[in-house]
């Protein structure tokens, strides 16, 4: 096996976004994604991976995460979360990184799921759980445009079972 010890620049992986833009990331960082890893390991000399479901803004965000954690393990967020504030649940860097609007967090979570990046997906899940924590049913329905799908009979039944749930 031949190693090029004189190599100065690390191999870059080109990630092609849904819009066709190319975002480059160092291979060592990209390997955080099991999906990309399988592409690289499965096909020799692959340097470009198409990600048609992920836009370039999200890919850049994912790359930021990859680069930060390429040499270290992301912190594990304890379940259940102890606070609706992310900074009380995880590291300051993670909390700052995921401090984004709902749509970005959703897109990031979906991307992490697709890319098989469990720590990033977990971070997104925890962030969204923070948004749920302590919220009433009505608040959640209103904020996320969820229709009340339950027939009144079922509502009553649930109310009977858990009379405290609305308190």
């Amino acid at each position: 096996m031949f190693y090029n010890f004189n190599k100065i620049e690390e191999v870059k992986i080109r990630l092609r976004s849904a819009e066709g833009h190319i975002c480059e990331v160092e291979e060592s960082a990209a390997l955080m994604s099991s999906f990309i890893r399988s592409m690289i390991e499965g096909f020799n000399e692959v340097t470009e991976v198409s990600l048609p479901n992920i836009n370039s803004v999200v890919i850049e965000k994912v790359i930021e995460y990859m680069r930060h954690y390429k040499d270290k393990d992301p912190p594990i967020i304890k379940k259940p979360i102890i606070s609706s504030k992310m900074e009380e649940n995880t590291s300051a860097w993670d909390a700052g990184f995921i401090d984004a609007d709902w749509n970005m967090v959703v897109d990031l979570m979906t991307a992490a799921d697709y890319l098989m990046m469990i720590p990033l997906r977990d971070l997104c899940c925890a962030k969204m759980a923070c948004k749920f924590k302590g919220r009433s049913i009505d608040e959640l329905r209103a904020e996320y445009h969820i229709e009340n799908e339950f027939p009144s009979e079922m509502e009553e039944n649930l109310e009977f079972q858990h009379p405290w749930r609305l308190e």
């Binding site: 259940p80 899940c125 749920f132 049913i137 969820i146 649930l158 405290w164």
Partner: protein, 341 residues
């Protein structure tokens, strides 16, 4: 894609919430309902939380736990308990559910023929022997004595500790009661004034058994040979409240009762526990006829599940098992004598 309609992702999100938050969220939407009930992550989350709740060292150091442990050390496991338990009609396993005054009363009123049922559960009674896990669900706030023979003349608002205080032969009673029981009575006295606004939860684990309690209550030997008590201290509640975002610091009795019942159901269906019982059962059934009716109904089922005959309701509740440990047996005798006064 709406992430809230994706069961996998929603499951991931909800796995970061605790079980009681999940229960609250079940009615947000059908997907929430489905995921919060079935997603394995949720169960894992629940199990993790329960483990953490019940197995931490600081819990063992809790004074309430020490009393509890003392109680259980005094009375040998498996020989002292006549539990009211229930059979799960869904899975046919023996399982109890934490009935309380409120639940039983409510259900009893709601059934036209006076049969007390709660979903799939029915009431029965055995002596628990070799039970791997016991979840004791005490009866928060259920310390009124109006249904007990001993204090029929007392006003409804009278609590156990008040009853103790009023009992004309208090000193004698104290000398006759099991020391742990008296200790519990003292606890009740201490906390009674704050009780209505502060329901307290405690937990314990000893050996391989789980005990959970909210405020405690006597089970009088007339109805049950177990006197199961979980004295709760304010600090315990505070500690849990801080740890779990005040979920345990409820202001309403119903809330905590429901919470504990949910807890019991979940634990049972997760296979964490087989038996659940309450530290308070007996007298909420309106009449003895009803009690006997239920025993009769469930007798065959209990027997069919392989419970030794000596542990079935046929021998319950008037005859205590002969192998009770001396302190308990003595207590029963004394209590019956007092009862006859």
């Amino acid at each position: 894609m709406n992430v809230l309609d994706n069961c996998d992702l929603l499951g991931g999100i909800l796995s970061y919430l605790n079980p009681f938050e999940l229960i609250s969220l079940q009615t947000v939407s059908k997907t929430f309902n489905h995921v919060s009930r079935t997603h394995w992550e949720i169960e894992k989350s629940f199990t993790n939380m329960i483990s953490e709740l019940f197995w931490t060292k600081d819990q063992i150091e809790n004074p309430a736990i020490k009393i509890m442990t003392g109680l259980f050390n005094t009375i040998k496991w498996g020989e002292r308990l006549i539990f009211n338990i229930q059979l799960c009609k869904v899975c046919s396993r023996i399982c109890g559910l934490g009935f309380t005054d409120w639940v039983i009363g409510k259900m009893h009123q709601s059934t036209p023929n006076g049969i007390i049922t709660h979903k799939q559960w029915q009431l029965t009674s055995i002596v628990a022997d070799g039970v791997p896990f016991i979840l004791l669900i005490a009866n928060p706030g259920g310390h009124k004595c109006r249904n007990m023979k001993w204090d029929e003349s007392l006003p409804n608002s009278t609590t156990n500790c008040e009853w103790f205080a009023q009992f004309p032969r208090k000193a004698k009673l104290k000398s006759r009661l099991h020391p742990f029981i008296w200790q519990v009575a003292e606890c009740e006295r201490s906390y009674n004034s704050k009780f209505e606004n502060c329901f307290k939860v405690s937990s314990n684990i000893f050996e391989n058994r789980i005990c959970v309690g909210a405020y405690c209550e006597f089970i009088f030997p007339e109805y049950c040979n177990l006197i199961s008590v979980v004295p709760i201290f304010k600090d315990t509640c505070k500690e849990l409240s801080e740890k779990y975002n005040e979920l345990y610091y409820f202001k309403g009795k119903r809330k905590i009762v429901q919470m504990m019942i949910e807890l019991a159901q979940r634990l049972h269906h997760l296979g964490v526990i087989e038996y659940v019982t309450v530290s308070h059962k007996k007298v909420d059934l309106d009449t003895r006829e009803n009690i006997e009716y239920f025993y009769a109904v469930d007798y065959l089922k209990v027997y069919a599940l392989g419970i030794p005959e000596k542990y079935t309701i046929k021998n319950y509740p008037r005859r205590a098992p002969s192998n009770l440990s001396a302190p308990v047996n003595s207590l029963l005798i004394e209590a019956r004598q007092l009862n006859a006064i």
